[in-house]
Symmetry: C2
C-alpha cells in the first residue's frame, strides 16, 4: 500500500495511491482510518511532507564506498564501525517532494546530495529482538541528506552542514510493501545517473539497528530512521534537479536554488 499526505481543493489529508489516483482517507495510517469517496488524479494534487517525526534518527556511515570516499578526502584511513550507532537530524530542515532546497547565500559551492532509504516506524516499541524487529516497520520512504561539506569540515557538529532549513527533503510517499532485498538506489542530477547502489548493502542493516536502538530508546509511530548512503556526490549548483529513486518505493525529486538568485 502506498500512503500519501497531500493537499487538494484546499484540504490536506492522508490518501492511498491506486494507479494514477489518490483515494482520500479520514484519519491517519498510524491509528484509525477509513477510505472516503473523494478521489483525485495523482498528478493534480500537491504532495506534502509525509510526517514530522517525533525523533529524527539518521545513520552516519553505513556503506563501505561512502566511508572510503569520505576517508580519502580527509586523508585518513577508513574506520569501519564495529557496531551500529545512530545520529540525529533536525525537524526544521524537512521539506516535501518537489519543494526547493534553498542553498543559503553564505554557503560555499560544496553542496552534496546523499540518497537514503528511510524506515518509518509504525508502533511504539522497545527491546526488540532480531525475530520481531521488522514488525514495527510501517513502511519506507526516501530521504536526501543534503550536506554543505565545508561547514561539515569546519564545525564540531553537523548542525548547519546537515540541518539548514530545506536540507532534508523526504518523500514522496510511504510504501508499505517494498522488499528490502530487491531495492536499488539510483540518483540522477538533471536526468543523468550519478550513483547506483544496492540499498540493502549496509554495514549494519535495518534489523541490527532496530535491535540496538531499542536497547535504549522507545521508538514511536511516525519516528523515522534514515539509513545512510553509498558513493559520493558532485557539487550541486543553482537550478540542478536531484532525483533519488529506490526501486519498489518511488522517486524523490527536488530542485536546488541558491538563496537570492
Amino acid at each position: 500500500m502506498r500512503w500519501l499526505k497531500f493537499t487538494a481543493s484546499g484540504k490536506t489529508s492522508w490518501g492511498i495511491i491506486e494507479g494514477d489516483q489518490v483515494i482520500a482517507v479520514e484519519g491517519d495510517p498510524f491509528s484509525e482510518w477509513r477510505r472516503t469517496s473523494r478521489t483525485h488524479p495523482l498528478d493534480e494534487v500537491k504532495i506534502e511532507l509525509p510526517l514530522i517525526p517525533r525523533t529524527f534518527y539518521c545513520v552516519g556511515l553505513n556503506y563501505l564506498k561512502h566511508l572510503k570516499e569520505a576517508a580519502d578526502k580527509a586523508g585518513t584511513v577508513p574506520a569501519v564501525p564495529d557496531r551500529p550507532e545512530i545520529g540525529y537530524r533536525a525537524q526544521n530542515a524537512l521539506i516535501a517532494h518537489d519543494e526547493d532546497v534553498v542553498i543559503p547565500a553564505i554557503a560555499t559551492e560544496k553542496i552534496h546530495y546523499e540518497g537514503e532509504l528511510v524506515v518509518v516506524i509504525g508502533k511504539k516499541v522497545k527491546h526488540l529482538t532480531e525475530a520481531n524487529a521488522m514488525a514495527c516497520v510501517f513502511g519506507y520512504t526516501i530521504g536526501n541528506d543534503v550536506s554543505e561539506r565545508s561547514w561539515q569540515k569546519a564545525d564540531r557538529s553537523l548542525w548547519r552542514s546537515k540541518n539548514a532549513d530545506t536540507f532534508k527533503p523526504m518523500g514522496p510517499w510511504i510504501e508499505t510493501d517494498a522488499d528490502l532485498a530487491r531495492m536499488e538506489t539510483i540518483v540522477r542530477v538533471n536526468g543523468r545517473e550519478t550513483n547506483r547502489f544496492r540499498t540493502n548493502d549496509m554495514i549494519f542493516g535495518v534489523v541490527p539497528f532496530l535491535v540496538e536502538l531499542t536497547k535504549y530508546f522507545t521508538l514511536w509511530p511516525g519516528d523515522v530512521i534514515w539509513m545512510g548512503t553509498d558513493g559520493a556526490s558532485p557539487d550541486i549548483k543553482h537550478d540542478d534537479v536531484v532525483e533519488i529513486e529506490i526501486s519498489g518505493v518511488g522517486t524523490l525529486r527536488n530542485r536546488f536554488v541558491r538563496e537570492g538568485r
Copy 2:
C-alpha cells in the same frame, strides 16, 4: 506568568500558577487561550512535561568550568569554542518533573546530572538580530541533561549516553517573567548542594545563539534550546534525588532508579 501543563481529575491541560493554585486554561500559550473557572491546588495535580519540541536543540560546551573539567578528565587542553555551535537531543528521552530517571541495567556507575537553563521559543522566526532576538523567547524552564559518561567516551556520537529513555527531565513549568541576569543555578543531590553557578555566565549567551541559529534555521513555537551547564557531577546512584533550581524559574526534581532494582 508561570505556565504549567498538568493533569487533574483525568484531564490534561495547560494552566497558570497563581500562589498555590493552578487555574486551568483552554487552548495553549502559543496560540489562543482563555482562563476557565476550574482551579486546583498545585500540590494536588500531576505535573506533566510542558511540551515535546518540534526540534530539540542543546548547547554542548558553554561554561568555562565545565569545559576545563571535561578537558582535565580527557587529559587534554580545554579548547574554548570561538563561535556558537548547536547540538541536538532526542524527544524520546524527555520526562516530566517528579518522574523517575531510569538508569539502564547495562549502564555503568558513571551517571551524571547537568543542570541547564532551557529557553522556550514562542514565535516562528528566522534571521534574528541582536536587537530583536529576545522577542522570540516565550519563557524559561529547566533541564537535566543526564549523561552516561562511559558511553559518551566510547561512542562516536552522543546517542545513548545522552538520549536513553528518561535521560532528559524537563520542567516543572515555563516561567515567562524571569530575568536572565539575576538567575543562579543550584543543584542538590538528596538535599545537599553539589553545584552553584551564575546561569548567565555562558561562553555564548542566549542572544548570540538565537542570532547564529536563525542564520540557518527557522525556530518554531515550542522549540527548546538547552543552554549547557557548568561544573561537574558526582556519580548518581539508585534512589538519589536530584534537584535543579534556577532562581526566578523554579526547581526540577527527579529520582534516579536503576532498571530492575
